[in-house]
Amino acid sequence: MPERIIQTSGLTKIYGEVTAVDHLNLEVDEGEVFGFLGPNGSGKTTTILMLMGLTVPTSGTGKVGGYDIIKNSRDVRRIAGCLPEAAGYYEDLTAKQNLDYFGQLSDLPKPKREKRINELLEFVGLEKWKDVKVEKFSRGMKQRLGIAQALIKDPKIVFLDEPTIGLDPQGTKEVRDLILRLNREQKLTVFISSHLLYEVQQTCSRVGIIRQGRLIATDTIENLSRGLAKEEGYCVEFELDRMTRRLIVEIKSIRGVTSVVEEGGKLYVHMDRDNRAEVSRAITKHGSTILLMKPQEYTLEEIFLRYYKEAR
């Protein structure tokens, strides 16, 4: 039974009149790569800030690694690493000096610190650049330094807030591979916030969808899309050599068919369950030939757009 590493109940943050996070109940197990998915301004960053003790919740409580995020926030910060959104480093210090400062802040003794810094620089592929000032770094390099920074205290869990934002495809892939390696090789729990569906799909074992501060779904991506398909029903695209009005009426009368739409010489048959056999039998009985039959699948993007709309 994996341990529950994040648990919040009724976590709420109100900025003035804006409710950034609204009664959030979130559970993340140890060893997961959890994706926190939501559009910009939906409360992802605020949630991470509250979990890390960088901002105080208006109401509600939470625990990270067994420590209360309000009363024991220093203990939380001892076991949780964080790569905040738009993180910055000390530009006139080298990569190594930056990491050394963060290592000191994590109370690592000098020999252990040096060993850890060298390991991490190698892990993120910056060992060649360790004595170069950070001001000379590209965005991708800074982000990799940020991951090294989040790992220096040897955390149980890392929070990565939009880790690939503003990176080119190469940089994105590097960061994504690092995240997966972390989870696989070091059994680290990773909490990623993102609005990029593809990224979440590539890396995360489970996702939570947040919209306007509310958690509207939590599950694996497959389950989420399956659940949506069930709700939305099943749609099959047919291409026929001959189409008549009578045929359409006939298909409509088949059990399970909810609607039939003719568009651009094609038929889109919506059903509440898979009843392709009966529909095709009806078509052949009518004397038409099926040239193409293709079940329509929702792209992930459509699924999540649907989720956002639904919650509105």
Partner: protein, 322 residues
């Protein structure tokens, strides 16, 4: 104080290696060297003046005290004005605070590092000035004069620390470094210039002097006579008192007065403005007694700035990037 020492060490090495600090240090060393030469010159021409006159004497009314009164604030502000908001905009503050340190450690560490940098600047300046003056004069300070120098150094460090904490306050209050820089410049101008101008104006309104057109020959001849009358002297005295009291709003003037008392010079803002000074040579104890309320006022100012920054910083919402 978890983390405060780490922040302190990092900030101090940042300061000591920063171009900003080195440039200001170079200017101060250059100017104080010049003022030490002038002081030596003054002592040679005034047998009554003691060793301490190297810090106050000078034909151009330019001395260590006036240097620190006017340039000191710039050094203090320069080390403080962007210490928090720069990290806020760059995003390193949210990274820093995700470590197991208390939030106040950040402020304490930064403040202590700034004070240490300022103290090393003040102490080394004083030592360099003595190093120049002693061989030229052929004699050194007495023990009491050394004690006076220590008191002067402490007062100067306190005065610069006030400006540091004001800079720190601006850096907590303003999100942008450009805003806090402008606020710093405004505060500096207010303290070293505007208050004195206002004081002079008010004094002139309250106690106008009899009208004397400048340049007319009979007036020029009569000027000496007119200034000798009791009535005229009383007027001047009253004006100077009003002016001094008003100018005490500015901590710069307080510092200048207190530093002068410690060195045994009676130099009110009014006399400093005239470029004149009167050597009265009281004991160090008297000097410290006279400067004590001033030092206390500067200390309270420093504390107030620090406490407000502290309270604001603890409640600061750390949204990355601004």
């Amino acid at each position: 104080m978890a983390g405060a020492m780490t922040v302190f060490r990092k900030e101090l090495s940042d300061h000591l290696g920063s171009k900003r600090y080195l440039i200001l240090f170079a200017i101060i060393i250059l100017l104080s060297t010049l003022s030490a030469y002038q002081g030596v010159d003054y002592i040679k021409n005034n047998p009554n003046a003691g060793f301490l006159a190297i810090f106050s004497g000078g034909r151009l009314a330019f001395s260590f005290i006036s240097l620190m009164t006017i340039f000191g604030p710039i050094i203090g502000l320069a080390l403080g004005f962007d210490s928090i908001n720069k990290e806020r905009t760059s995003g390193s503050l949210s990274v820093l605070l995700s470590y197991p340190i208390f939030r106040d450690s950040v402020l304490n560490g930064k403040f202590l590092a700034g004070v240490t940098a300022l103290a090393s600047l003040v102490v080394s300046t004083i030592i360099i000035m003595c190093g120049i003056a002693v061989p030229m004069l052929g004699f050194g300070p007495t023990l009491e004069q050394v004690a006076s120098m220590v008191a002067l150094a402490l007062l100067t460090i306190l005065y610069l620390a006030f400006w540091l904490s004001l800079g720190l306050l601006f850096s907590v209050l303003a999100k942008k470094t450009s805003t806090s820089m402008l606020a710093s410049v405004a505060a500096w101008l207010f303290s070293v210039m505007i208050v004195s101008i206002i004081a002079a104006l008010v004094a002139n309104l309250m106690v106008p002097l009899p009208f004397q057109p400048l340049g007319s020959p009979e007036n020029f001849r009569g000027f000496g006579a007119a200034t000798q009358t009791e009535e005229y002297r009383a007027l001047i005295q009253m004006r100077s008192e009003i002016q001094t009291n008003i100018s005490r709003i500015s901590l710069s003037n307080l510092y200048s007065e207190a530093a002068s008392s410690i060195l045994g010079i009676r130099a009110s803002a009014f006399f400093v403005a005239l470029g004149a000074q009167q050597q009265i040579r009281p004991s160090l104890a008297q000097g410290i007694a006279a400067s004590w309320p001033h030092a206390l006022a500067i200390f309270v100012g420093m504390l107030a700035c620090f406490v407000i920054s502290y309270m604001r910083f603890l409640r600061l919402e750390i949204r990355p990037g601004g």
